[in-house]
Every structure is written in structure tokens, then in C-alpha cells.
């Protein structure tokens, strides 16, 4: 982090304000922390700051049918509608919607753009009122705990005392676990999918490669690229390409691309994208930079790296869930090597150790980590069944209560 003394960043004890984020994006925005700043894990105070969120379905009269969906690293609050920037279907539009697994006819679904993000919630690209310029790397470092603390304020703003469910995959699973651990009285059931209670050394390593790709791009300008003609597009693109490989699996890549050539009959003895897989990754990289801020990518990957639930309990993970009344359902995928089944199993063991109510399934698939985003009928069947059982226990009668 750059020295903040003379950069107009608040001194200790003074809250870091973020100028309200102005967007014409669909959904809701809320300014939080004006009266009571948010104490970040770093010790800094944040407020006021903007949080953007989207909702689907109707909150019932008892406010008991709310499901908080936590998005992953490069996701956002547009769960179940066309993305306002790319126009592509929402990242979980196959799961959340009317008549779908998370049925918006029954449930009120909330998704909050994470702190540090770039879709309407305060992040490094937003304006520091003290300087009148974007924060860049002067934005405070955010943790998963901070993201969840901000979400909690949104949930409270909506008047919801207890969420029926918190659910998310990957980084969304981290947030889900954090919710269940830190605010168990506000969570009826928690569904962490393809997650872990801590970020592994291998995963930190991959993130570091991505960050170095961004920071090695001359257009990054030490994070202060917002006034320039262009940002670190190549760096961010490479970061995305490298990360994208980790979301898939060897067998999925082989099945989808093999060694097939891209629009040509023979290799060219050059460095064009001869292979389909190269062309595919380049496409993934170049479309990503259109919708994502490179500094946000630095901040959010860092938040995941810092995630280690057991750390504050003397490395005793069960203590993070002591006396938990939350009903857990963990899901992992056989070909996920980024968040392998063993990570979920560690959480299951910890939950068993405190005799928490836990279900755990491993889904057979070759789709790798990304499986939670894809059409996986067995996964959706189990998700629906778990939610149905939990709804029964919660006394939700299926349809949102109509007063």
C-alpha cells in the first residue's frame, strides 16, 4: 500500500469516506456507515460508503422468506437478469428465478455487490472526497468479514431479523460460512458451495500470479490509471485467463477443446492462437476487462487470500461454529481442484465436532470449480430438496405469505 499520510486518506480514528457511487445500473443503492462507520478487519473505519444490491421476489409479511445469495470473485448482484454491461444472462439465472431451484415465487432473494467491488458498491475506482480523485490503492484493504458486515447492514436495513438462507459458491461460500459463524442468530440455514474455511497456499499462489500480471502492465500506473486513456487491460486479461483455467478441469478442457485448431487446418509455426483453447481464453480475458475494474480484482482476490476462519480461534475451526443452530448444507464437486472436496470435508468435520446439523454432498461432474454456475441437475435437485426440508422446519408454506 502506498503511504497514506499525504494522500488525503483518513488518519487512524477518522472514518474513510467514499463519495456516493453514482451509476445508472439497475437495482438498489444504499449509503451506509454515515452515523456509525464500519470497523474494518484492518482496524480502519469506513463510512459513509455506498452499497449496491439487487432483489428478486417478494418479502413476505413475516419477513421470513429472505435468501441472501453471495456472489463469487468476479460475480455481482445481477444474479437472475441480463447483465447491464454485457447483456449476458445473470450468473445464476439457471438457479434463481420463478419456478427454478431457488424459486422467486416463494423466496425473496437478495444479492449485494461486495465491498471493494465495481458494480455500484464502494471500491477502489470510487472518489475519495478528500482528494476528489479515485482511491486506487488508497482504498482500504477489505476482508470477507468486512464484506459480510456490510451485507448485514443491508439485511437490517430491509428489516429482516433472520435470513431463511445464506448461499454462495467459491468466495460466496466463504461469505456464507462467515455469516453462519459471525451472525448465527440471523441465519436459519447456510449453503456453502465449492468453498473452504481458508484460502489454500495454491489458491493464494494463483491469485498472486493474477495480481502480478495486472501490476506488471505499464498501464496500471501503480493503481492510478483512472485518469489515463486506458487501464491495465492486458494485465487484467492475463489474470482472468490464468484464473479461468483454475475454474475448469483437465478433462473438461479436453472434452471441450482437445487439441482442436482455431479456424485453421494446420499449426502456423507462430504465436497466433492456433488452438481453440487459446482463442477461448483470449476471449474470456478480453470480455472480462469490459466489465471489471483491475484494482477491484486486486482487492477482492486479497480478501479471499486473507480468509482463514480458524485463525482467530487458535486454529481450532470447530470453535468458529460453537453451539451453532444453523442448518448447514455443503456441496463440493469431484473435479474441482481449486476448492477440492477435502476442503469442504474439513468444514464438515468441524461442524460434526460441535454437533451442528450438517448435510454434505459431493457431486460427480467433470466441470471443475465452475460446476456451481452450470447446469448440474443432481446439484440442483439436492439444493431444492434441502431448501424444501429447511422451509418445512422454518414453517414456510411454500408460497410467500400474502397478507
Amino acid at each position: 500500500m502506498a503511504n497514506s499520510e499525504d494522500n488525503g486518506v483518513a488518519n487512524a480514528g477518522e472514518a474513510i469516506a467514499v463519495e456516493p457511487v453514482v451509476t445508472d445500473l439497475p437495482g438498489h443503492q444504499l449509503v451506509l456507515g454515515a452515523d456509525e462507520p464500519l470497523r474494518l478487519a484492518s482496524g480502519q473505519l469506513l463510512g459513509p460508503f455506498t452499497v449496491a444490491y439487487q432483489t428478486y421476489g417478494t418479502l413476505n409479511a413475516e419477513k421470513s422468506n429472505a435468501i441472501l445469495v453471495c456472489h463469487a470473485l468476479t460475480g455481482d448482484q445481477y444474479v437472475s437478469e441480463p447483465h447491464p454491461v454485457t447483456g449476458r444472462a445473470g450468473w445464476w439465472s439457471g438457479v434463481v428465478g420463478a419456478g427454478l431451484t431457488i424459486d422467486t415465487d416463494d423466496y425473496f432473494v437478495i444479492c449485494v455487490n461486495v465491498l471493494g467491488g465495481c458494480m455500484g458498491t464502494a471500491g477502489p475506482k470510487d472518489i475519495n472526497p478528500k482528494t476528489g480523485t479515485p482511491f486506487g490503492l488508497d482504498f482500504p484493504v477489505i476482508t470477507i468479514t468486512d464484506m459480510v458486515a456490510a451485507q448485514k447492514r443491508v439485511v437490517e436495513h430491509l428489516g429482516i431479523e433472520k435470513l431463511f438462507a445464506v448461499i454462495g459458491g467459491s468466495m460466496g461460500a466463504m461469505q456464507t460460512l462467515e455469516w453462519a459463524s459471525r451472525y448465527p442468530e440471523m441465519v436459519f440455514c447456510a449453503i456453502p458451495i465449492a468453498g473452504a474455511a481458508r484460502h489454500s497456499a495454491q489458491n493464494i499462489a494463483f491469485h498472486e500470479v493474477g495480481r502480478q500480471a495486472i501490476m506488471a502492465d505499464p498501464s496500471w500506473h501503480g493503481g492510478d490509471y483512472y485518469s489515463q486513456d486506458t487501464g491495465p487491460r492486458r494485465g487484467l486479461s492475463v489474470a482472468r485467463m490464468a484464473a479461468h483455467i483454475t475454474y475448469l478441469s483437465d478433462s473438461a478442457l479436453h472434452t471441450k477443446f482437445g487439441r482442436n485448431l482455431q479456424d485453421r487446418q494446420a499449426i502456423t509455426f507462430g504465436f497466433d492462437a492456433d488452438f481453440q483453447i487459446e482463442s477461448y481464453l483470449r476471449h474470456q480475458g478480453s470480455t472480462f476487462v469490459e466489465r471489471f475494474d483491475a484494482n477491484s480484482y486486486l482487492y477482492i482476490t486479497r480478501a479471499m487470500d486473507y480468509f482463514d476462519m480458524a485463525a482467530e480461534y487458535g486454529d481450532n475451526l470447530p470453535a468458529a461454529f460453537k453451539n451453532s443452530q444453523v442448518r448447514f448444507c455443503l456441496v463440493s464437486f469431484t473435479s474441482d481442484w481449486l476448492f477440492p472436496t477435502s476442503e469442504s470435508r474439513q468444514i464438515v468435520y468441524a461442524l460434526n465436532a460441535v454437533a451442528a446439523s450438517v448435510s454434505f454432498v459431493e457431486i460427480e461432474t467433470e466441470s471443475g470449480h465452475d460446476a456451481f454456475l452450470l447446469e448440474e441437475p443432481e446439484f440442483h435437485r439436492i439444493l431444492a430438496g434441502f431448501l424444501r426440508g429447511a422451509a418445512e422446519q422454518r414453517g414456510l408454506n411454500g408460497k410467500a405469505a400474502t397478507p
Binding site: V348, A355, V358, S359, F360, A384, F386, R388, E392
Partner: protein, 210 residues
């Protein structure tokens, strides 16, 4: 949809019914080797228990969880030690004991994490099993022992009398013994004699700590 309706593909076995009768309503129950969750579902629906399950087969786990049961994929031999002492009132092992390698260890763990263990198993001392082996000279296959020898998950072949002997050795207390004959007639027993061992096709034990 009623959960029981949705699970009507599998019928409740007679031993499962007898086990359910032993379980106190509203208690905390762990079903080890819960299969497709029929017993657990019955206990949750009718006895209002706080029910959990462990099942080795992924297929069974998926079926259970998709019916709203709290079941994890796991192995009785290795995973019971993750649970704290006295986590449950009852720990059930129905028809799974013959497939257990460390029988003593699993029984001890069951009675560490649960106040009571409930165990049901097929009786190898049943006269049809004995005569089958004697007359045909081949390993018995029956409705209770449906697998051929080369694909059976069962690695422990023991009789009712054997099991009573094990409980004695472990100084464990059979609070209740119910024997089941070939007509599914159940009978409560105080002790197991030669004839009972001969006529019992399967048995259910409610076991307390020593």
C-alpha cells in the same frame, strides 16, 4: 409435499420399525449407514427427532439430502471420532455391523457420542443359514443376506449368541433385545438361549453404557 410420500419408493423394514419404537420422541439421533434415509425420515416425521445421518454411498447421501435430511457422506469406521461426547441420545446402526471392520471400535464410539446404541443385524445362527451351508455346501444367500459371497459388503459373519458374548466382553448393557423370526414376528427377550439363536432371523439391540 410430504417427505414420507416422496420416499415411498423404499419400504420400511421390520427391524427399522422396531428401532423406531425404541427411540424417544424429540431426541437427538444419529443413523450410521442410513442408506437412502427411510428410517431417518420416519424418525424425523413421526418422532420429531433431531436426526442426522452418515452414509458411505454417494447415491444414498444425495437421495437423503434431496429429501431434506441432514446427512453427510462419511465412513462409520473413521468419521465417528469427529463427534463430541454425548452429542446424541441414540446412535443407530441398522444392518451395517456385518460390514464393519473394527466392530469393537465402532461400538465404543457409538456409545461415546450417544447415550444409547441401537444395533440391528442378521443372525448367522439362524437355522436356515446353518442348514443352507450344511446341505448345499455353499455360502448362504437369503432375503437378509442377499449378496453372493464375492460381492457382499459383509465381512463379519456372527450369530446372536456371538453378539451377546461381545457385549459381555465389552461390559456393555443390553437394555432391550428383540428377535425377529422368518414371519417377521418380533419378540422381546431377556436372554438368548440355544433355541432363540436357532429361530431368530435378525435381531435389534438397545445397548446402554456399562
Amino acid at each position: 409435499m410430504n417427505r414420507l410420500d416422496s420416499m415411498n419408493g423404499s419400504r420400511i423394514r421390520v427391524d427399522q420399525k422396531l428401532i423406531a419404537d425404541m427411540i424417544t420422541p424429540g431426541s437427538r439421533v444419529l443413523d450410521v449407514g442410513c442408506g437412502d434415509g427411510v428410517l431417518l425420515d420416519l424418525l424425523v416425521a413421526e418422532k420429531r427427532v433431531d436426526g442426522r445421518g452418515i452414509e458411505l454411498s454417494q447415491e444414498g447421501v444425495n437421495t437423503c439430502v434431496s429429501h431434506g435430511l441432514a446427512v453427510v457422506q462419511g465412513d462409520a469406521e473413521t468419521d465417528l471420532n469427529n463427534y463430541p461426547d454425548d452429542a446424541f441420545n441414540f446412535v443407530i446402526l441398522s444392518q451395517t455391523l456385518p460390514a464393519i471392520y473394527d466392530v469393537k471400535g465402532v461400538l465404543r464410539e457409538m456409545l461415546r457420542i450417544g447415550r444409547y446404541a441401537v444395533v440391528s443385524f442378521p443372525n448367522f445362527g439362524y437355522w436356515r443359514v446353518r442348514t443352507g451351508l450344511l446341505l448345499s455346501g455353499r455360502s448362504p444367500v437369503s432375503s437378509n443376506l442377499p449378496h453372493a459371497w464375492y460381492e457382499s459388503p459383509n465381512i463379519r459373519f456372527f450369530t446372536l449368541t456371538d453378539f451377546v458374548g461381545l457385549l459381555d466382553e465389552l461390559e456393555l448393557n443390553a437394555q432391550q433385545i428383540i428377535t425377529i423370526d422368518r414371519r417377521d414376528q418380533a419378540q422381546s427377550r431377556q436372554q438368548i438361549g440355544i433355541w432363540t439363536n436357532l429361530l431368530t432371523e435378525q435381531a435389534v439391540f438397545l445397548i446402554g453404557r456399562s
